[in-house]
């Protein structure tokens, strides 16, 4: 599948550019010019469609800057009349938000690094090394793709409960690194390594390199694009984990961000919307900014994964 041209360059075999927004060509119109009127309709329709994609983020950021009395103002204000950073300060005092931010970051980094390593090793072996039982073992690994993590959450909880590891980060770190997400990563890495020229390795082998050296010094440096794809989807997956943290973690100082975001309530259980929006902004914005700068890698990376959700 070609995804390399989707965002950065223009499509190669696109449909007739003279279509109007509804995909029709008006009758009796000469072929070449795309009239200004139809461009207006085209951009008008796209802008209208873009509203539900942009508005929530806009609403999140502006609401985080509004004082409480302005949150439910009527008519709703699209721009804070009296902007304040109070909600951002509150986000850190109501919960150990800095600690929770750190938890999410370090878990995401550890799991992403671990997954890249495990997947690059296993993917390489399945693609390039011959050993007895290879196909059967590959099928066993692929089983991991078949079983959603929601199916196994009950026995996993009981296993970690038995080991006394509930309310620690270990279940999340271990299951996410070694379990289902890394299977997808292994599959992607295997597909990539299958396409590497064999001659490179044969030359390295004649020079006396062993498997580890061939993998580390020849194959890995050549697999940057595949590793980047694995890194991006693993990071997004871990950053978004919600079920696992809510099942395994009980103490607020151990929470990860998605879990923490839902806990900004006042003494009566009411939602503190401006604080929630401030915390949500701090969670969502960094990844969004990275995406805008590195969107080509993001789109290719996610398109290569076979796509979840």
């Amino acid at each position: 599948m070609r995804t390399d041209t989707l965002f950065d360059t223009e499509p190669a075999g696109s449909l007739d550019p003279n279509l109007d927004a509804a995909g029709r060509r008006p009758a009796r119109r000469p072929r070449r010019p795309s009239s200004a009127g139809r461009k207006v309709v085209f951009y008008g329709v796209l802008s209208l469609l873009a509203v539900p994609f942009v508005f929530p983020t806009w609403w999140m950021i502006t609401s985080s800057l509004k004082p409480v009395n302005e949150i439910f103002a009527f008519p709703p204000s699209l721009w804070p009349a009296d902007p304040t950073l109070q909600a951002y300060a509150d986000a850190f005092t109501i919960q150990p938000f800095a600690q929770q931010y750190f938890n999410s970051l370090y878990i995401a980094i550890v799991v992403t690094t671990g997954t890249m390593l495990i997947a690059a090793m296993a993917g390489y072996a399945f693609a390039r090394i011959r050993f007895p039982g290879q196909n059967a073992l590959f099928l066993v690994v692929l089983m991991g793709l078949l079983i959603p993590s929601e199916v196994t959450i009950v026995p996993l909880f009981q296993m970690f409960n038995g080991l006394g590891l509930v309310n620690t980060h270990w279940p999340i770190l271990l299951v996410t690194t070694f379990g289902a997400p890394s299977v997808l990563a292994t599959f992607i890495m295997r597909q990539f390594f299958l396409t590497l020229p064999v001659e490179l390795e044969e030359a390295a082998r004649l020079d006396g390199l062993g498997r580890w050296a061939i993998w580390w010094r020849i194959a890995l440096p050549l697999s940057r694009t595949a590793l980047a794809a694995v890194a991006i989807f693993t990071f997004l997956h871990v950053w978004n984990l919600y079920l696992e943290p809510t099942v395994y973690l009980l103490s607020p100082e151990l929470f990860t961000l998605p879990q923490a975001l839902t806990r900004y309530t006042d003494a009566y259980g009411g939602e503190m919307w401006n604080v929630q929006m401030a915390a949500s902004t701090m969670t969502a914005l960094p990844v969004l900014i990275v995406f805008v700068f590195a969107q080509k890698q993001f789109v290719e990376g996610l398109a290569q994964t076979g796509l979840k959700g």
Partner: protein, 318 residues
């Protein structure tokens, strides 16, 4: 394993001309290589066995037991949990909600994705910026996105505020039966439609231009070209995205937990949410495991279908 044609490492075969041929060491190159292969796959294999396959076997074991956490008892009950599943008065509603959610998600997601892909598959100025906009929610944190929508969809929230400006009295979206499920579907569609849009864009770019031009010469209009040439050619991608979207929809948990907690009533309680509720809120681990088996069987059937379709899809790509 044969050891006849191993590439000889330098210095390994130290036999000199004239001296008697030495016996080959047991650790030939192939054996060493195979050993390396096992070491390379070991972390992944151990992970899959320990965190996927063993738990999978355990849910079958748990499902034939009654597990009382408070009393600390674990008793064999045979197929009682399966009988309970069929007798569960809530199961009908849960499966209905799950089915409506999946079908609604597929219909909205795929039609919007295809519409966006067709609109954006052209060379006009600014198209790239719009692609970025439609894709961007994919990278926004899921719970943050869902919380914002929860905020917007409240009775006195932003959506109804905007509706009031044009004189419409909006419903309490998340607290009324019919609109709650619809709201969760819509929130999920806007979050992830960019992924399917990218797949469709790739498929549309794979449609040969010559075919469309030939049809045009033969007098076909744009609608006929789209319906008779483009759609059939991208149909493998459509089938694939249908299955992927359904399997994904079966795993939606955070959105329900944040937006509606399964309510009002149990109108948005989908299978995964019900499973987690039974196991972790009500401590019915045996029954929860039975529900997990049901979920597994549904996903299994769909994944096998996807695999068959993927074969077709790959074949088409080649």
């Amino acid at each position: 394993m044969t050891t006849s044609v191993s590439p000889v490492l330098p210095g390994r075969d130290a036999s000199r001309p004239g001296s008697p041929p030495r016996r080959r060491p047991w650790l030939t190159y192939q054996r060493k290589d195979a050993l390396a292969g096992y070491v390379f796959i070991a972390p992944q294999l151990i992970g899959i066995v320990g965190f996927v396959l063993v738990p999978l076997v355990l849910i079958f074991y748990y499902s034939v037991h009654e597990w009382n956490v408070l009393a600390g008892t674990f008793t064999f009950v045979g197929l009682e949990n399966v009988e309970a599943l069929f007798a569960d008065p809530q199961m009908g509603e849960v499966l209905t909600a799950t089915g409506i959610f999946s079908v609604g998600l597929v219909v909205f997601n795929l039609s919007l994705a295809l519409l966006l892909a067709v609109l954006l598959n052209r060379r006009w100025r600014g198209v790239t910026a719009f692609r970025t906009i439609f894709f961007s929610p994919v990278v926004v944190s899921l719970v943050a996105w869902t919380i914002v929508w929860g905020f917007l969809l409240q009775d006195n929230g932003g959506i109804n505020g905007l509706l009031a400006l044009v004189g419409v009295d909006g419903p309490n979206w998340l607290r009324e039966g019919p609109t709650a499920l619809l709201s969760v579907v819509v929130v999920q569609v806007f979050k992830n439609v960019g992924l399917n849009m990218v797949l469709f864009l790739a498929a549309l770019q794979g449609v040969p231009r010559e075919l469309q031009e030939a049809a045009k010469v033969d007098g076909a209009d744009e609608r006929q070209i789209f319906g008779r040439i483009v759609i059939p050619l991208i149909s493998p991608t459509i089938l694939l995205t249908v299955i992927i979207t359904i399997v994904g929809s079966l795993q939606v948990y955070a959105q329900i937990a944040v937006l509606t907690q399964g309510g009002p009533g149990i109108s948005t309680t989908v299978l995964v949410y019900y499973l987690v509720q039974q196991a972790f809120d009500f401590h019915h681990f045996g029954y929860g495991s039975t529900l997990a088996i049901l979920l597994f069987l549904i996903v299994l059937v769909l994944t096998i279908a996807q695999w068959q379709l993927r074969k077709r899809w790959v074949f088409y790509e080649n």
